[in-house]
Symmetry: D3
Subunit: 238 residues, 6 copies
């Protein structure tokens, strides 16, 4: 029995609120249950030094948590003077995942930065950030078309992410914080809406996991992520 009463294959309620703030070219509040993340996409007319003159664009991501997004207050990374290891690991994952959504050559010499700021955490912030960040990214790409800076959107495919895990011996999707902190295995699955995997990160927190558990988790992940693509589509249709 899951603490939330959900079925093993049942993700939390997912909500995507576009145009959540007004300055960014894309701005989405994504909620996976009580996990709430503001994802903004910002367009700049330049590329990082390693891409200068290559005639292609870049997608990158930054991640942060408000100090009191969590049960006890975390020190502010800006005040401590550095981003923690977990932050760095997550923002690199978000960046890699969202780059897979876009044809970087067709993007031309633009950089789009996806900022994912967690205002309330209850597990699954990185999968929420990728799922919401992709919608913000689509809005930013459409902005470039609307402004006449690109002829058509360089979007190749939608990307969404969901966690799966083994909780009390049973594979479950979209772990919330009480499950996440007790799970034996925790896996983040990032997929495209054409059914391919972008990234799989599975970690045995307690006992190692075996092939059969992996297979079961992947089946659950695929089912759940299909629902996320429907929710993304509905949000973008509004």
């Amino acid at each position: 029995m899951r603490p939330s009463g959900r079925q093993p294959e049942q993700p939390r309620d997912v909500r995507l609120t576009r145009h959540f703030t007004r300055h960014a070219e894309g701005s989405v509040l994504v909620e996976f249950g009580d996990t709430r993340v503001i994802c903004t996409a910002s367009v700049e007319n330049k590329v990082p030094p390693f891409l200068r003159g290559e005639g292609q664009g870049w997608i990158t991501a930054e991640y942060g948590m408000l100090p009191r997004s969590t049960g006890s207050r975390m020190g502010r990374e800006a005040a401590r003077g550095k981003q923690g290891g977990r932050t760095v690991e997550i923002q690199r994952l978000i960046g890699r995942s969202l780059r897979a959504a876009v044809d970087l050559e067709a993007l031309g010499e633009h950089t789009i930065t996806i900022d994912c700021d967690v205002i309330q955490a209850d597990g699954g912030t990185r999968t929420a950030a990728i799922t919401g960040g992709c919608v913000a990214l689509v809005d930013a790409l459409n902005f470039l078309v609307r402004e006449g800076r690109l002829e058509k959107s360089p979007l190749k495919q939608m990307v969404a992410a969901l966690s799966v895990g083994v909780y009390q011996g049973i594979p479950v999707v979209d772990l919330d914080y009480p499950e996440d902190s007790a799970a034996e295995t925790d896996m983040n699955v990032i997929m495209t809406d054409q059914g391919g995997f972008i990234e799989i990160q599975g970690t045995a927190e307690g006992a190692p996991f075996v092939q059969e558990e992996l297979d079961n988790m992947l089946v659950l992940a695929k089912q759940g992520i299909e629902q996320l693509f429907e929710i993304q589509k509905a949000a973008l249709a509004e």
Copy 2:
């Protein structure tokens, strides 16, 4: 004529949403028009080193802006490795102002940290942060009473803040961004609900200002702040 069409003495619509996030002892979304700031109050059972053994508590504040809370994206302070000068200046002002609301000896050996994170900026983020932060602080003090850790709330008085300025030669209250960037003089006034000043910071951005302008601005500020105390009171009564 103000860009927003407001009267000189008319503040923007101010909204205070308590319990905006669920983990903090106090959590308030404060909106001054399009300026939106999340203020959380976090209680810890300890005091900073310089107060150890003094038998009193401490109130402090930290301030941040999401990278895309503004018209063009600002670099993330956590990634740059340090807080900027403006950030430091503002968070020190918020901390000083809110300390004036509380009897620190009656607070006992607790520290309350007020985190003010701007999710959308349109001028006046520091005055919004003080006004909303004070409500979050009250909630955190009441939490301490409810939990039996204090017998009664050490709140001495409410504190609120408003900007006033001289815009196109006319004193106006609660400047939004278009006014703020063009104002000749900009003043932040922080007051108690008993009519005293906590802090006055007036800066001539262009020409110096004279005593009469100062007097006129202070009259406007007092009127506007009285309205803020009403709004705080209504929010706390809910």
Copy 3:
């Protein structure tokens, strides 16, 4: 009764020693009683990135305290790897104040940096730094004229600063350290020699202050600052 035996309206002895060190284009030792600050003005033929191509100049300031300028040794900021919040707040105030003295367009593409280094502290270091820094700035502007790099000095007006406060219920000027640490209210007033205010920063350290106290403090400040302009004028006439 003030600890120093001074009258309420009596500032400390103020001394300005020009050409205190030999390398800088302007170099002034300013003393407000036992507070001693070295102010140097350094000219560079360039402007910060945000002003490039704007055809105007810039005035900025940096502030520091020698580790043992105070009663107990403070950690050296260079060794700790960052400037403290108070330092940042003060140097921003000095920079804003001294920019008001100069016609930045007439200055052309030059940057003048005012370094204010406290070698002995006894209260009022920021007002001393502004008052002495303005004289160093004038010397640097005259250097530019003497060198033929400017046709005439872009000085618009002199700027000076004085603290006022409420000490044991009585408004007093130019607080020294024993007064400063016990004052109920502390206000820094920065004015031009044409009688306008550049900046007012008043802070209630204990009880809030009221309009009448504010008015009384401003009267004292204006009187005292007039004396500072005389002292600046005499120093520059030497």
Copy 4:
């Protein structure tokens, strides 16, 4: 055809040189072909703050590359003042993987730090570091037994790691640098000698990958890692 002429299922020559340096409790030079990493295991009689009084031990890892371990010189992280994102990501992976090898409660209040310093890089530094680091860890655990500080080694299982990928459409193991930089998919697999997975990290560098490719890669990984366990066993038997 692989650039090195290897068969798809053929790892590079793997060599483990124990006692490579003399000060550390465990010191192993691990070579996966031209990739060479020094792994040392250092024992300390203390635990990190978050474990104090918990009666258990801790295993952690740090990773670095000598500036000229790579084709062009990388800036030294110590000189730049921070560890890069890739470094942080890798050392967290090594730490998680090696913690799975040890019964942390049986370890008692000791911390073992595994330092993995790459002296020559040719792809697969993180899998080499885990495979070699586990041998250094075993030596450090045996040191604790030999010194009488533990009654028996708290080793639960051996851990080893290998990369697999899809190179020119074909799944291959243990990618060297020329393969790694051209691979469509890159996966790091960390397993125990009892056949369980500790961590799987698969990333689509180009096109997404599908279930069948994943399955094929995992078959190859398991075969290859079995050989690593033989090589670890042989090294520890010397």
Copy 5:
């Protein structure tokens, strides 16, 4: 012919002004010609972590230059966030040199920090700092005796320092900036008043130097340092 017209064996005028600032236990302005350094000695009732419980004291030094102590403005180290390599090298030399003056066991568990801040530089700041710092140190040791915290001064010997070099083929003492920047060889010699060497640092800036040049430089250094001990003695007798 030296640019200053001095004889090869003639140091600059050296002045030592004790009690230069009022807060420090020792405070000396040292001038070697136009080189001016404020040296303060600060006493603390504690020792660094590596000496805790050892029953001995510690002497350490920090060095800094005001940004405009030099011909062109140097960036402020506190603003840049780190001390430069030259600064670190110099402050370690000053610390080592002055530790040689004191019986650290007799000092007991006190730390004395010598802060050397250059307000005007014209070559030889490190030798000036050591020579003046030793006088500040003596004053701080005498303070401990006067306060009854030590029975007698733990001073073992006076320490002073002078530079020597080969300028246009001729050995000279106490190089000023024009000589220093053109010298072929530059050597700093630190001695005790009992004739021993504490430290010798000789560097060939251009051509290597030979034994005979070394011998000649050391003869000059010894003569010059003897004069410094006289000047120290006279200053301490005041």
Copy 6:
């Protein structure tokens, strides 16, 4: 009697292994007994900002120790976020010493960085680094000739370094760690193969040293360094 049983004038076995790693233009493992340092020389087609347009090249050095190169683990400088004072002091010495080996104008606009990374420390790491680094430097210069980027090698002279000290009253060469930590005096001598001194750094760790001891140490140093030049020559002849 020396702990190692060596004669006073007997250096440790010195080994130089060229081509130790494969990516760098010069790569040498240098061993002075149990002290082992990897020295790589990396060529870049650019010069630091202060040399731009001067038509000359630059030689610089960086130094680091693997965390467990020593008896107890040292914190990793990259993780602590700054290089320690000792590191900075040593790498500046290595850079100055090796610059003396090269005609910087003949080098043209190239920078060669010598990275010296200690993998095992037993005293004398800086002298080993200079001696081995010079061989790596020669290989890098020859690479520039072989590649046709320079017509002939700009090497002026070989440079080598050895420590000497006074151990139990007797001058000895090439101190190992047990001697180094107990020596009364410690001196590093850097010479050219034409018999000149590049740098002499002598430090009294306990009692001051006198001219006669200095002379005796220098005699020993010269003898020992002559042997180092033979070993360098033999290594380069292979």
